[in-house]
């Protein structure tokens, strides 16, 4: 089995704070990988490095055997790496369908972009299919700003799918979402994985991660400390240490989340 996404020795500091230090991680093609760890352990920073929102100080990121270290977010996205955000970021004043259509525009000349209607019938159909897939089709004409939190997560997932990325990075897909919608989100991920999509998921909800992921990596103080199947990770004493001791004071308050 080959690694589709490979992070090697990535370090990143913000001012004096070391957010990532020599962090390595690999995600196998066709798998669902999980990323867990206490608050402030660098999970979201790692996401930002992989998707081009933050430039690493050192280390490399390889996607499908091409280096994407330091590439811009739009370049990364165009290569087939889609992501969602911890706090969902949708276009609140556009309709749900228009939100979907924004994601369909890739690599066209500026003249064409003016001359063309916002979306061809085929693109509209595809967008509606994806909305249907996440269960939002009936809300396509409403302003995205009126959606509930969980629905926003589903919308984000849908419009990342428009571009048909090979890897999807999900930042806390279950955070702040009610249990019914959590199940819905889980089912969608599993269905997509069956079609061949690879996932990397950051999540605090242990039950969600352990039930969903094939491979789980635990981060602590900016490095990946343990990696393996959910059972292996659960049994590893270092994981408990990472959550309970050793970390900075602020980490301790967040244990309850897991």
């Amino acid at each position: 089995m080959s690694a589709l996404l490979e992070v090697e020795g990535v370090s990143k500091s913000f001012g004096g704070l070391r957010a990532l230090s020599l962090c390595s991680l690999s995600v196998q093609r066709g798998s669902i990988a999980g990323l867990i760890g206490p608050n402030g352990s660098g999970k979201t920073t790692l996401f930002n490095v992989v998707t081009g929102y933050v430039r690493p100080d050192a280390g490399s990121v390889t996607f499908d055997e091409k280096s994407i270290t330091g590439a811009r977010p739009d370049e990364v996205f165009a290569l087939g790496l889609g992501r969602t955000f911890q706090l969902t970021r949708i276009f609140a004043r556009l309709t749900v369908l228009e939100n979907m259509l924004v994601a369909t525009q890739r690599n066209e000349g500026w003249l064409r972009s003016i001359m063309r209607a916002a979306a061809s019938p085929a693109e509209q159909r595809r967008a509606m299919e994806l909305l249907d897939f996440v269960g939002l089709a009936r809300l396509s004409a409403t302003k995205a700003g009126t959606l509930s939190y969980g629905q926003r997560k589903l919308l984000e997932l849908a419009y990342v799918l428009v571009a048909d990325p090979a890897v999807i990075l999900l930042d806390e897909p279950a955070g702040g979402v009610n249990p019914t919608l959590i199940n819905e989100i889980r089912e969608r991920i599993v269905a997509l994985n069956r079609e061949g999509k690879t996932f990397l998921v950051v999540e605090h909800n242990m039950e969600f991660v352990m039930g969903l992921c094939h491979q789980v990596t635990v981060m602590h103080q900016g490095s990946a400390i343990v990696s393996g199947t959910p059972d292996v990770v659960r049994a590893d004493p270092r994981v408990l240490d990472a959550y309970l001791g050793g970390g900075e004071e602020e980490d301790r308050d967040d244990v309850a989340v897991g």
Binding site: N48, Y53, V54, P73
Partner: protein
């Protein structure tokens, strides 16, 4: 030539101090409330006219008059904040505040035109046209007094921000409005007072401006664009940045006026802003924002 450049630098530093005071008010308002007060320019002119009226009609010395005009502009500032700015929705406050304060600005401009006519005036006092002669340089009294007053007021603002309980809550609000609210700071009250303070300093700045320049209400356009250039260059919300940028810009302008031509000095002032921002979009002293947020 050499000594006239030094003279220009001295003039630039002395006038820069007054601009720093006016710009500090603007950047304080922005830092605490995320509001760009376009009316700052017309408030300066309003302050100048108040000092002018007091000195012409009541014979009150402009510096003494500040004890009336500073509180007056403080109250006007509080009124504007309470009457209009407070009513804006949190979401597009910054954009809307530009328009609201612009509207306030043209109303005041209209009122000033009606009450004082559009003819240029200047504030007069014994120290306006006299200078001290020192080491071969001319130091106009009004520049010296103005600089001293600006320094005193800036130190007073500094002390207020860093030595008082109120200052602590202002600084907390400067850093993060939401967090400040969470720790029990009445951010709305802090905002109102800061807006009042930010406007109040224009009374002092306006008095010196009105004594060193002939002005009418439409002079405010030139003023506000300079003040905005200064606070942007210094990094929006940064007090120290505003001080540094004010002195830097005024010295630059005065030196260009001497070595090249007074006509192009103003253009260089704005060109400096454009050049700096095309290299550092967050200004000279502003923090560069990360791509993520």
């Amino acid at each position: 030539m050499g000594s006239s450049i030094i003279q220009a630098v001295i003039d630039g530093v002395l006038t820069g101090g007054v601009y720093a005071l006016m710009a500090a008010g603007l950047t304080l308002i922005f830092g605490v409330m995320d509001i760009i007060n376009i009316a700052q320019g017309i408030f300066v002119i309003l302050g100048a006219y108040l000092s002018y009226a007091l000195s012409v009609h009541a014979g009150i010395d402009p510096f003494l008059g500040l004890f009336i005009t500073i509180p007056a502009l403080f109250l006007i500032g509080i009124g504007v904040e309470w009457g209009f700015i407070r009513r804006l929705k949190e979401g597009d406050r910054t954009a809307m505040s530009i328009l609201v304060t612009y509207a306030v600005s043209i109303i005041i401009e209209g009122v000033l035109n009606v009450s004082f006519s559009v003819n240029y005036v200047q504030i007069h006092a014994w120290y306006v046209n006299r200078s001290v002669h020192l080491f071969g340089f001319y130091l106009p009294y009004i520049y010296l007094f103005g600089f001293a007053m600006a320094a005193v007021l800036l130190i007073a603002i500094y002390a207020l921000l860093y030595r008082t309980r109120f200052g602590a809550s202002v600084r907390a609000s400067l850093q993060d409005r939401t967090a400040a609210r969470l720790v029990g700071i009445d951010v709305r009250r802090v905002s109102t007072i800061c807006f009042g303070l930010g406007v109040a300093v224009t009374a002092a700045g306006g008095m010196v401006f009105g004594a060193t320049n002939a002005f009418n209400a439409s002079t405010s356009y030139d003023l506000i664009s300079r003040l905005l250039a200064i606070v942007i260059l210094g990094g929006l919300g940064s007090m120290g940045g505003a001080l540094g940028a004010a002195v830097f810009m005024l010295v630059l302008e005065d030196v260009v006026a001497v070595v090249w031509s007074p006509v192009w000095a103003t253009a260089v002032f704005f060109a400096a802003l454009v050049v700096v921002l095309s290299v550092r979009p967050a200004g000279l002293f502003g923090r560069q924002v990360a791509r993520a947020q």
